[in-house]
Symmetry: C2
Subunit: 204 residues, 2 copies
């Protein structure tokens, strides 16, 4: 009986490990890298049936890549973008970028807008982040946005709170043309995002 018993025990162990393995693999498949807490999204972004994109959730846990600042007081009081911009990319697309230097299909970039808060602190005069004021995202998708230059589409959830819950694609070339003309890498202003620059394979 020794032989069969050994086989049986081995089989049970193999089945248990297989179940654990399948469970583990399925969990990983369902959860993006950003899902560090229960409120993180099961999908990066969701679309409504009429093609609007829903406000992303959990993006502050994505990869931060840089912060441009063009305040009103340096632009005659009428800056086109008077806020701090905290810019993120979804973690899986960042991992792909680290390997290839390319933005993969499905890349989501987030530009969170923050007011200029105080302009003086114990560390000196300057600019300190105030309140969250707005949210914009761009998505690269060669199927959904096959007619957009570079396959990038741009969405705004507003520049004042409360933000919109859903956003239709920005009309025409409102964002795309400037990105196409001035952004360094595939419609992305990588020249202003040091984390992206350092992560590109050629920089290593």
């Amino acid at each position: 009986m020794l032989g069969p018993k050994r086989i049986s025990a081995t089989a049970i162990v193999a089945i248990l490990v297989a179940i654990a393995g399948l469970s583990c693999l399925l969990t990983r498949a369902a959860a993006p890298a950003s899902a560090e807490t229960p409120d993180a999204p099961a999908t990066l972004v969701e679309f409504t049936t009429d093609g609007k994109v829903k406000q992303p959730v959990g993006y502050r846990k994505w990869m931060y890549i840089g912060t441009p600042l063009t305040p009103n007081d340096l632009n005659g009081g009428e800056a086109p973008f008077p806020e701090f911009h905290a810019v993120y990319i979804d973690p899986e697309s960042f991992a792909h970028y680290e390997k290839t230097g390319q933005f993969r299909d499905g890349t989501v970039m987030v530009k969170e807008l923050l007011s200029v808060g105080t302009k003086e602190a114990t560390s000196g005069k300057g600019y300190f982040m105030g309140e969250f004021t707005g949210l914009e995202i761009s998505i690269k998708d060669s199927k959904r946005f096959k007619d957009e230059p570079g396959n990038w589409a741009y969405f705004s959830f507003g520049h004042t709170y409360p933000l919109k819950k859903e956003s239709a694609k920005n009309a025409g070339a409102s964002c795309n043309q400037c990105h196409q003309d001035n952004a360094k890498t595939d419609w992305v202003f990588s020249q202003y995002y040091p984390v992206l620059r350092a992560a590109a394979p050629r920089s290593k």
Copy 2:
């Protein structure tokens, strides 16, 4: 021969799934929440036998919390902190902060320094991040730093590249006093970190 062949195929599948499962489980066990790529750290920070801290790895994948900026040109050419500061907190301590509003024992905060790059772009006049120039961290540890105010210790890996690989604790009250006098929450300048402010339980 049909029966044995079927069993054999099932066994092979079970073994393959088991191998995948084990591999998956082992990877997850070894990797902290921030370890989205192989180069991420197995521990948050490591100390040398003589109490220096080694340069942290993978911190750009931690939680970004804010970017103060006090450039030279607004501080008579001699700003105490003339760089952009990209500030991060380790993800597990952030999760604890989200629940409690407290910085747990073991919290690591990273201040990455970036030069001011260009001051004009198509989006307007302002400040755009240039190159990485320095790295500083603070660690809260009630055992290791039991004699420090608030149990916080401060470390600098330098303000020019190449950075130091290890750093001894900053002497005396060089950083601590200012943090103690001016930082809003437990020696942390949370008033300038909107992501922290929004994450605190009282803000929800």
